[in-house]
């Protein structure tokens, strides 16, 4: 068998050129194992010969960030001091890490003094290996500065970070979703209930120890009258 390097179609051995695009056919072994299949760089149209695989350098286990410098971090440094633990940039995006109790004052300060009046998103990530397993992420945008920043704060399980609703109303549903998916309760939130899942649901699905097949079977059986939801 022969294979066209551009369109990937296969042809009998006798064919010299691909009838579709005229490319010279590359010989192909029919007894294909994994390696033979991997070799031709599919979909990339140019290479007639398989691109040599670079000896993949071991990806560093930490994010390769750059420090974030400028007016805004300086002002924050002056105002909050040690409460903000780091200023970073990665792929052109700025973010800072802060202590959880400082998160809402930072949001307030940025809104009043720097025009960050639009809270884009509140979300979290979970890493059960760390003592402070959840990382809250606030994404902010300023219409006047056309700038987007992120504020990240790590919280322990059972911690109750303060709610951002008094500063940004939009945090209402977003924090409810974080509570629903991760089980982080926000102190002072007007309506701290589940939003996407039913109220009686057990467990918080986006935690890493919640298996993808581990849906609340008891709830499903009681309320839907079926054996399993899967």
């Amino acid at each position: 068998m022969k294979r066209c390097p551009t369109c990937q179609a296969t042809f009998p051995d006798a064919t010299e050129r691909c009838p579709k695009d005229g490319a010279k056919l590359a010989a192909m072994s029919v007894t294909m194992g994994w390696d033979a299949v991997e070799a031709p760089a599919e979909a990339s149209p140019a290479p007639a010969k398989p691109a040599p695989k670079p000896a993949a350098p071991k990806a560093p286990a930490v994010m390769e960030t750059e420090p974030w410098e400028g007016e805004l971090p300086d002002a924050l440094k002056e105002k909050f001091g040690d409460a903000i633990t780091g200023y970073f940039r990665y792929v052109g995006q700025s973010f800072l890490t802060a202590k959880p109790e400082a998160a809402v004052p930072i949001l307030e300060f940025l809104k009043s003094d720097w025009g960050f009046d639009y809270l884009v998103d509140v979300t979290a990530t979970d890493d059960p290996a760390k003592p402070e397993r959840f990382e809250l992420v606030y994404i902010l945008y300023s219409f006047s500065r056309n700038e987007r920043i992120r504020i990240k704060a790590r919280v322990k399980e059972g911690d109750k970070p303060a709610t951002a609703v008094p500063v940004h109303i939009t945090a209402d549903w977003l924090e409810r979703e974080v509570f629903d998916m991760f089980g982080i309760e926000f102190a002072g939130h007007p309506n701290m209930t589940r939003i996407l899942l039913p109220d009686e649901w057990q467990g918080h699905p986006l935690r890493k120890d919640y298996n993808i097949l581990g849906m609340d079977q008891k709830w499903v059986q009681e309320n839907l009258g079926i054996e399993s939801g899967q």
Partner: protein, 151 residues
């Protein structure tokens, strides 16, 4: 005054009605008479899966490389194979494709290195049972046979 007359004679509503009347012209009718007249689907349409066979010798083109099963987001393809003792080649034995979970994303046909697995232009995939949605090798090679429409 002009506005008043427009209001009296319902000009704004009549303008809208004129648009409706214009669309009544037979050449503006766009409805398809589906079961009676079959629609022509595009060449790249992603419909029922098919396992291509070599028209020259009737053997399957599939080389049992399992790439489609690995590419499938829903894990619905199961490729069965055994190694031929004489030629030392993998030979396809069974192939199941569960269309009830398929979302026709086309990742399997993109992954196929020999163009054996293909999503075809057949779009009539309804079945009377869930089991009927699970295609085995025979159905995949011969194609689906939907009940033809009768008046």
């Amino acid at each position: 005054m002009r506005d008043f007359l427009r209001k009296i004679f319902l000009v704004d509503l009549l303008e809208g009605l004129w648009v409706t009347l214009r669309a009544q012209h037979p050449k503006n009718i766009v409805t398809e008479q589906y079961p009676a007249a079959r629609p022509k689907v595009a060449e790249r349409y992603r419909g029922a899966p098919r396992l291509n066979i070599n028209p020259e010798n009737g053997e399957t083109l599939c080389i049992a490389c399992d790439l489609c099963a690995l590419a499938c987001p829903e894990n619905l393809i199961v490729v069965g194979w055994e190694r031929n003792a004489e030629t030392k080649r993998k030979e396809l034995t069974t192939f199941t494709y569960d269309t009830s979970r398929c979302m026709f994303c086309g990742l399997c046909e993109d992954a196929c290195p020999v163009d054996a697995l293909e999503l075809t232009q057949d779009f009539e995939l309804a079945s009377y049972s869930r089991e009927g949605q699970i295609f085995d090798r025979q159905i995949l090679e011969e194609g689906i046979h939907p009940t033809p429409y009768k008046h």
